[in-house]
Amino acid sequence: MSTQTPGYKSPGPRTPAGKEPVLEIQNLCVDYGLGKESVQAVRDVSLTLHRGEVLGLAGESGSGKSTLAYGLTRLLPPPGVITGGKVVYHQPGGDPVDVLRLNDAGLRQFRWAETSIVFQGAMNSLNPVHTVASQLMDVIAAHEPRMSKSARLERAKELLKLVGISPDRLGSYPHQLSGGMRQRVMIGMALALEPQVVIMDEPTTALDVVMQRQILRQLVDLRERLGFSVLFITHDLSLLVEFSDRIAIMYGGRIVEEAPAAKLYRDSLHPYSHGLLNAFPPLRGERRELSGIPGSPPDLRSMPTGCAFHPRCPKAFDPCRTELPPLAVPADRADGDRTVACWLHPGGG
């Protein structure tokens, strides 16, 4: 109980040197619906994105990972409501801003200029009745009204080149582009105002593996050049291990483990993380029998008591059924740059 709010770390011994937070999510709670019928989709989640890093967020469908992304940007469609917490954005050389307390005008100004988003459905993310150019330019116009039209067009061309699309595609309508090209346009658009944070919600799930790798490679390259931070959300944990610096695992609306990618891959502490890692058959190494995770993901309307994972957990013991394990630095892993919410690895402190 006495643990300090987990995940809310000031730049201290636990974070690698030079890593300052850019986006801090503190105790965020998101519900669907209000009153009696409401369902808690994100429960008390705290997560910190550092400048320049790729933070992976993994979980099954219904784990709340997309709800978290939509919630922290306040883009969650009805009946979603945010019922608690803070989302603090640290401007470079400015005061921190709580995104949840911005008024409409402030929120509009903040959006895309500081935090942009690439959604899962590239097919549907672009307005079908406007050209690529018009959609690239209107976001610039909205945030930099004094920029001339020709300058905006120039910028739009630059952005397409940035993501490897020929500028003569500017006049195309979305239906004239392939799925991969549309997603690249979206990535280009996300970088239009050079935001500090780019949130990616399953950006490559609808694409083939070859296209997926091309786009991810480009993303890594762009991040190195432009220095933005990425919150990368996907159900494909094997992809995250390869592409992100740190990984947070969500289950039943809560973060159950957070660790550097390599540590999570080699030494996952939460049984759910372990199960998830073993849910992807390897392409290399010896062929072995894998089991996946028994049972089904939980129903948000009737969550198990205690640890939400305990009905599916092979290692569950008594406290798991009644007591909710807090997310804390595990006592048996002293290096301190990871947290887990599991009674097998209780916090030490």
Binding site: G180, V209, P282
Partner: protein, 390 residues
């Protein structure tokens, strides 16, 4: 849930009888022409599947791997005789079968059943599980006589797919079940016909990651107990390696490589297979080794239009090893050295045309090695414009 045996190598199947064969299977879908086009232009078709030859054997899983649009699902529907084929032959136990509806179709699909990709769409939302399974049993005369035998048959089916106790599931509607449970019901429905061959069209790709393996393991268990011949269609080559005995790779409507799963995945011969394997997520590759490197990025671009596919090898516009002959001549199935049964439709393996014969497989063994860091930042490579299909 987990299986007790098959820990290392799957045990040799009881027999390797051929159940279902496709020989030169071809499917062209006509492109709808409107107005004047009907008169002026020659009829145009989508070459969805061209010249596919494969064999399903008793007690073996054959995987068919390909990207979306490669025609792999069409192959399943052709084999299920849900579409009439344009050319080629389908043989069940050696006899050619062509059916289009009616009693002969039922007789055929009593032996060959299909499992669909999306369990949320493949069960009718207005009917209970009991209705779905009862219909399948009745159609194939496996319902027994009387309600007691029917109930017994229903419970047996659900037990086979590990939905127990059966009575808890029988009277539920599909929307009351989770994705994994629904897919198990779909499998039970296919089993109601007591088939010999099962065509599984991406049976786990719509399911939550944590339960995919459970369904695959169930299918493997059923294969072993019922000696089923399974066609496993997937876009995930790693799961093909895990689940299938043999693996076939399809690209743009054609088969490009085939052989033992382990061989195909560990020692890919065709440049497309190499690209596929290289692109698949692989945590081992990167952990602790810095950023991912660019190997063959020249393969950018997308699969070709199937209305007007490239001449010769369909992969030639993206292939880093493309030679002149690849642009004109269709490569036949050529054996790959060292592995009996491993073949690739690639001129690199032709004695005459394949100068790179020795090089190509070698390259595949170490796809993860950093090769061309000098490429550094090759920005803004204009993507080949995708064919805009009409």
């Amino acid at each position: 849930m987990t299986l007790t045996h098959t820990s290392d190598q799957p045990p040799a199947p009881p027999d390797n009888d051929t159940v279902l064969e496709a020989d030169g299977l071809t499917k062209h879908f006509p492109v709808r022409r409107v107005g004047r086009q009907a008169m002026t232009r020659a009829p145009r078709v989508v070459h969805a599947v061209d010249d596919v030859t494969l064999t399903l054997r008793r007690g073996r899983v054959t995987a068919l791997v390909g990207e979306s649009g490669s025609g792999k699902s069409t192959v399943a529907r052709l084999l299920a005789q849900l579409y009439p084929r344009t050319g080629g032959d389908i043989r069940l136990h050696g006899t050619s079968v062509t059916v289009r509806g009616g009693r002969r179709f039922r007789a055929y699909n009593r032996k060959v059943q299909m499992i669909f990709q999306d369990p949320f769409a493949s069960l009718n939302p207005v009917h209970t599980i009991r209705y779905h399974l009862t219909r399948a049993l009745r159609i194939h005369d496996n319902a027994g006589s009387g309600s007691v035998e029917l109930q017994q048959a229903l419970e047996n089916l659900l037990e086979r797919v590990q939905l127990t106790p059966a009575t808890r599931y029988l009277d539920k509607f599909p929307h009351e079940l989770s994705g994994g449970q629904r897919q198990r019901v779909a499998i039970a429905r296919a089993l109601a016909a007591d088939p010999e061959a099962l065509l599984a069209d991406e049976p786990v790709s719509m399911l939550d990651v944590s339960i995919r393996l459970g369904v695959l393991n169930l299918l493997r268990d059923l294969k072993e107990r019922l000696h089923l011949a399974i066609l496993y269609i997937t876009h995930d080559i790693a799961s093909a390696r895990y689940f299938a005995d043999d693996t076939l790779v399809m690209y743009a409507g054609r088969m490009v490589e085939g052989g033992d799963s382990e061989t195909v995945t560990q020692n890919p011969a065709h440049p497309y297979t190499q690209l596929l394997i290289h692109s698949a997520p692989d945590p081992d590759r990167i952990v602790g080794e810095g950023t991912p490197d660019d190997t063959e990025d020249s393969s950018g671009g997308e699969p070709p239009s199937l209305i007007d596919p490239p001449a010769g090898c369909r992969f030639n516009p993206r292939c880093p090893h493309a030679m002149d002959i690849c642009r004109t001549e269709l490569p036949p199935r050529l054996p790959v050295d060292g592995d009996p049964g491993h073949w690739a439709a690639c001129w690199l393996f032709d004695a005459e045309h394949g100068p790179a014969k020795a090089e190509a497989p070698a390259k595949a063994e170490a796809p993860a090695k950093a090769e061309a860091p000098a490429k550094a930042e090759a920005p803004a490579k204009a993507e080949t414009p995708a064919e805009v299909t009409e």
